[in-house]
C-alpha cells in the first residue's frame, strides 16, 4: 500500500514560552536555579532549558513546606473547598491545553497528536474526576458505615516517569489532593518541563502555598524523597527494579506505598477475531507512544493458523505509519525519549536477533539528529528469548504463537509481570473465560491501551501494587483505622 505524500504540518511552538533555566517549586514559589542540568528535545538533541538538581536540603525544604501546608491549611480544609481548587486546576489545564501539548511533545518526543488528544485532555479529566470525590469520600465504601470518614496520610512523596510526564503527574497529584494530602513530586530527569508549567497552574489557581511542591533532579533526588522520614506515603511509577528498592527502603517503617511498575503484556489474537480491527489494536498496543508504555502489548500471541495472515496484514499496516518530526500533526511515531533508552532498545533487539528472532521494519527514513528507532516486528520469538521476557519499552513487537486457549493463557501468564493483557475474539464466552484466567490488572478485550480516570489501573505480581484511578485509586491515599490496633496492608 503506497504511503500518501503529505506536506509538512508542524504545530507552532510559539504558544509556549520556555525559560532559559528553572528553579524548584517549593512553598508556592520558584527558587533560584542552581546546580542545573539540561533537558533536551529528543527529536533533535537541542537544549530546551536548564533545570535544577534538588539536593537533600531542597528535599527537606519541600517536605517541610508540604507538612506546614498539610497541618495549617489543606488537611483542615473542607472537602468541598478542596474540590473547588481541583476543578479550577482542571479548567486551567483545559484552557492551556495546547500550550501543555506543545511543551510535552518538545520535552518528551512523542507526537503532537498524542499529547493533544490523549496526554493533556486525560490529565485534565483526572483532576475533574477527583475534584468531585473530595467532599464525597465517606461514600467511597472505604470504611464501614458509621465508622470514621477516611483520613489523609499527610505528606505524599511522588516520583513519576518520563513516558507520560503530565498524565502521570495528574494520576498522582489529583487523588492525593482530593483526599486531603499534600504533595512533593519529582518529575523524571529527562521530562521536567510540563511539571514546572503545572507549578504555574497551581499559582494561577491560587492553590495554597506548599500543597504542591515540584522538585526536579535525577534518581538521587527521588531516593532522598523516598527516604525522607517526614514523608508518610510514597507513590511511584517506574521500573520494577527501582520499585523493589523502594519497597526495601520503606520496610519496617509506617510509610505506605503504591508502586506502578513494569509490564510485558500479551496481546492475544484468536483465529475468529476481526483481524483488521485486531491489527489496529496490535499497532495501537505497541506503537502508541513509541511503545514506551508500561502496559504496552509487547508480546503478540497469535493463534497459529492465522499467524501468517496476521503478520502480513500487520506489516502492510506498518508500511503506512509515519515516523518523524513529533511536532508534525501527521506523525504517528516520534522520537525515543533519551539516548539511554534508545541504547537499551537497540541492545535488546540485537539480543533478540542473536537468539534467533527474525527482525523486520518497514522502510522509513529516520531523521539524522535525535533519538530514533523504527517500528520493529520480531517473529519466530520463543518464550525464553530476552525479547519475550524483558520489558523493552520501545516500538518493538515480539510475535509468538499458540494453538489452544489454555496454551494462550499459560504463555500469557508466564511472566513475572502482570499489568495488562489483550484478547481479540468474536466469542463472548471465550472473552470472559480468558479475562478470568489472565493474571493482569487490566484486560482489554477487542480494544487496547484505553485509559480513563474512572477506571482503576495497576498490576499483579511484580508489576507493583495499589491501583490508580477510579474508586479503588482513592484507597491508597487514605487511612480508615488506626493501624496501631489492627495492623494494615502496606
Amino acid at each position: 500500500m503506497p504511503k500518501f505524500e503529505y506536506a509538512p504540518a508542524p504545530e507552532s511552538r510559539a504558544i509556549v514560552t520556555i525559560e532559559k533555566s528553572y528553579g524548584l517549586f517549593i512553598d508556592g514559589a520558584f527558587t533560584r536555579p542552581k546546580a542545573t542540568f539540561p533537558t533536551l528535545n529528543p527529536a533533535d538533541e537541542t537544549v530546551l532549558a536548564e533545570v535544577s538538581q534538588a539536593g537533600p536540603k531542597d528535599v527537606d525544604k519541600a517536605v517541610a513546606a508540604a507538612r506546614r501546608a498539610y497541618e495549617g491549611v489543606w488537611g483542615r480544609m473542607s472537602g468541598a473547598e478542596r474540590g473547588k481548587y481541583l476543578f479550577r486546576i482542571a479548567r486551567i489545564l483545559q484552557e492551556r491545553a495546547r500550550e501543555f501539548a506543545v511543551l510535552e511533545t518538545l520535552d518528551n518526543g512523542k507526537p503532537i497528536k498524542e499529547t493533544r488528544d490523549v496526554d493533556v485532555p486525560v490529565a485534565a479529566a483526572h483532576f475533574f474526576y477527583h475534584a468531585g470525590w473530595a467532599d464525597k469520600l465517606e461514600y467511597a465504601g472505604l470504611s464501614a458505615s458509621g465508622a470514621d470518614v477516611p483520613r489523609p496520610h499527610g505528606v505524599v512523596g511522588q516520583v513519576i516517569p518520563w513516558n507520560f510526564p503530565l498524565l502521570m503527574l495528574a494520576w498522582k497529584i489529583a487523588p492525593a489532593l482530593a483526599t486531603g494530602n499534600t504533595v512533593v513530586l519529582k518529575p523524571a530527569e529527562t521530562t521536567p518541563l510540563s511539571a514546572l508549567l503545572f507549578a504555574e497552574v497551581c499559582q494561577q489557581a491560587e492553590l495554597p502555598a506548599g500543597v504542591v511542591n515540584i522538585i526536579t533532579g535525577d534518581g538521587r533526588t527521588g531516593q532522598a524523597l523516598v527516604e525522607h522520614p517526614d514523608v508518610d506515603k510514597i507513590a511511584f511509577t517506574g521500573s520494577t527494579e527501582v520499585g523493589k528498592a523502594i519497597a526495601r527502603t520503606i520496610a519496617g517503617t509506617s510509610k505506605k506505598a503504591t508502586l506502578e511498575l513494569g509490564g510485558k503484556a500479551a496481546n492475544i489474537v484468536f483465529d475468529d477475531a476481526p483481524l483488521d480491527q485486531a491489527v489496529e489494536g496490535i499497532v495501537n498496543g505497541i506503537f502508541f507512544n513509541q511503545g514506551q508504555v508500561c502496559c504496552a502489548g509487547s508480546r503478540l500471541l497469535v493463534q497459529e493458523n492465522v499467524h501468517d495472515q496476521v503478520v502480513a496484514k500487520l506489516k502492510r499496516r506498518l508500511g503506512t505509519l509515519r515516523v518523524g518530526d513529533p511536532m508534525d500533526k501527521n506523525s504517528d511515531l516520534g522520537a525515543i525519549n533519551s539516548k539511554a533508552q534508545l541504547d537499551r532498545i537497540t541492545s535488546l533487539v540485537e539480543a533478540g536477533v542473536a537468539e534467533g528472532a527474525e527482525r523486520w521494519s518497514p522502510e522509513c527514513t529516520l531523521p539524522a539528529k535525535g533519538y530514533w528507532f523504527p517500528p520493529t516486528v520480531l517473529t519466530g520469538v520463543s518464550q525464553t528469548h530476552r525479547v519475550a521476557t524483558e520489558e523493552i519499552f520501545g516500538p518493538v513487537l515480539s510475535v509468538l504463537t499458540f494453538r489452544t486457549p489454555q496454551e494462550a493463557v499459560a504463555k500469557a501468564n508466564n511472566t513475572a509481570y502482570g499489568l495488562s493483557a489483550g484478547v481479540w475474539t468474536e466469542k463472548g464466552s471465550r472473552i470472559l473465560w480468558m479475562a478470568d484466567q489472565l493474571k493482569a490488572g487490566v484486560v482489554w478485550a477487542n480494544t487496547f491501551n484505553r485509559f480513563d480516570p474512572t477506571s482503576p489501573f495497576g498490576g499483579y505480581k511484580e508489576s507493583g501494587y495499589g491501583r490508580e484511578g477510579g474508586r479503588h485509586g482513592l484507597e491508597a491515599y487514605v487511612t480508615t483505622a488506626p493501624s496501631t490496633l489492627t495492623g494494615a496492608a502496606r
Binding site: G141, A247, S455
Partner: protein, 295 residues
C-alpha cells in the same frame, strides 16, 4: 485401675496430609503454667517450601471455585469447630492459661468469626467491585480476585481466635495459605487442621506448619512463589525482625500486611474488635476488564 489415655501426635498439615517434619525434629510444648503438653513437630525450611508447593497446587481449584461454594465450605468449618468445641476449650485453656469459662468464650468467638467470613465470600466482589462509567463506548468493570499464595505468620498469643481471624479472610477471598503457627502455643492450630481436613476444605488450601517463627519466617518472606505475607505473628515472636522480613518480601514485591504497632513495636491486635474488611482487601487484586460497545 484407671484407663491409660491415648495421646495425639501433633504433626504438620501440608497438602491435606499430616506429615511429621522432614527434619525429624520435634519440640516440647508446655502449658501456660509450664506443664508438658505434647511434642510438636518442629517445621523446617523444607517443610515451608513443601507447603508452598501444596498451596500453589491448590490455588487454581480454590480460586476458581464459586464464591457460594467457598462460603459453604467455610460454614462447614464452623460446624465442625462447634462439634469439637470441648476439645478446643481444653486446648485453649491449657495453651493460653485461661479458665474453662474464658476459653469457652474464646472458642465461641472463633466459631462465630468463621461464620462471619463464610458469609462474606459471595459479597466481596459486590462490595469491592463496581462498574466504571468511562468516557467512551465501553463496558468497563472492576472486581477483586485472590492475590494467590499467602504466607501467614499466625499470632503468637491468641492460639485459636487469632489464628482463625488471620486464616479465614485469606481463604474467604479465594487465596491459599501457608500458616506458621504460634511457636509456643501451636496445639490448637494442629487440632484446627483436623477440622479443616474434615470440612471439605480441599487439601493444600490451608497448610499449617508448627515451627520456631524466627527460623522459618525468613524463608517464607523470601519465597518467590508466595504472593503476599501477613506479618501479624511477628508480635511477641522471639528473634524476629519484621523490617527484615518486609525487606525480603520486596524481592518479588509481595503484598505485605504489617503488624499492628504500639510506639513502633509490633503488638498483637485485639481479636475481639470488629475485624472489618482490611484483611480481605489486603489479599485481593483488582482486575479491570474493558470491552467496546457497538452494533
Amino acid at each position: 485401675m484407671s484407663r491409660l489415655d491415648v495421646r495425639k501426635t501433633y504433626k504438620l498439615y501440608i497438602g491435606g496430609k499430616f506429615p511429621r517434619s522432614e527434619s525429624g525434629r520435634s519440640y516440647e510444648v508446655v502449658s501456660a503454667s509450664g506443664e508438658f503438653l505434647a511434642n510438636a513437630a518442629m517445621g523446617s525450611r523444607k517443610d515451608v517450601r513443601d507447603a508452598v508447593v501444596a498451596a500453589r497446587g491448590a490455588l487454581a481449584g480454590w480460586a476458581g471455585a464459586t464464591a457460594y461454594n467457598r462460603g459453604q465450605v467455610l460454614y462447614r468449618v464452623a460446624e465442625v469447630l462447634e462439634g469439637r468445641r470441648a476439645q478446643f476449650v481444653d486446648e485453649v485453656a491449657a495453651s493460653e492459661g485461661l479458665t474453662v469459662r474464658a476459653a469457652g468464650a474464646v472458642v465461641d468467638a472463633a466459631i462465630d468469626r468463621v461464620v462471619w467470613y463464610a458469609g462474606w465470600t459471595d459479597k466481596i466482589a459486590q462490595v469491592l467491585g463496581n462498574l466504571n462509567p468511562v468516557a467512551g463506548p465501553f463496558f468497563n468493570v472492576s472486581a477483586p480476585e485472590p492475590t494467590g499464595v499467602v504466607g501467614v505468620l499466625a499470632p503468637q498469643g491468641s492460639s485459636l481466635l487469632g489464628l482463625v481471624s488471620v486464616v479465614a479472610p485469606v481463604i474467604a477471598a479465594g487465596n491459599t495459605a501457608v500458616v506458621v503457627t504460634s511457636a509456643a502455643r501451636p496445639l490448637p492450630a494442629v487440632t484446627f487442621s483436623e477440622v479443616l481436613a474434615t470440612s471439605d476444605v480441599p487439601g493444600g488450601v490451608v497448610n499449617i506448619v508448627t515451627a520456631q517463627t524466627a527460623e522459618v519466617a525468613t524463608w517464607l518472606a523470601a519465597h518467590r512463589d508466595v504472593n503476599a505475607i501477613d506479618l501479624t505473628g511477628v508480635a511477641g515472636a522471639n528473634g524476629v525482625d519484621w523490617a527484615a522480613l518486609e525487606a525480603e518480601a520486596a524481592g518479588n514485591l509481595k503484598r505485605v500486611y504489617r503488624p499492628a504497632l504500639a510506639d513502633g513495636a509490633p503488638v498483637e491486635p485485639d481479636w475481639n474488635a470488629d475485624p472489618g474488611l482490611g484483611r480481605i482487601r489486603a489479599f485481593v487484586e483488582t482486575k479491570t476488564v474493558w470491552h467496546p460497545k457497538g452494533l
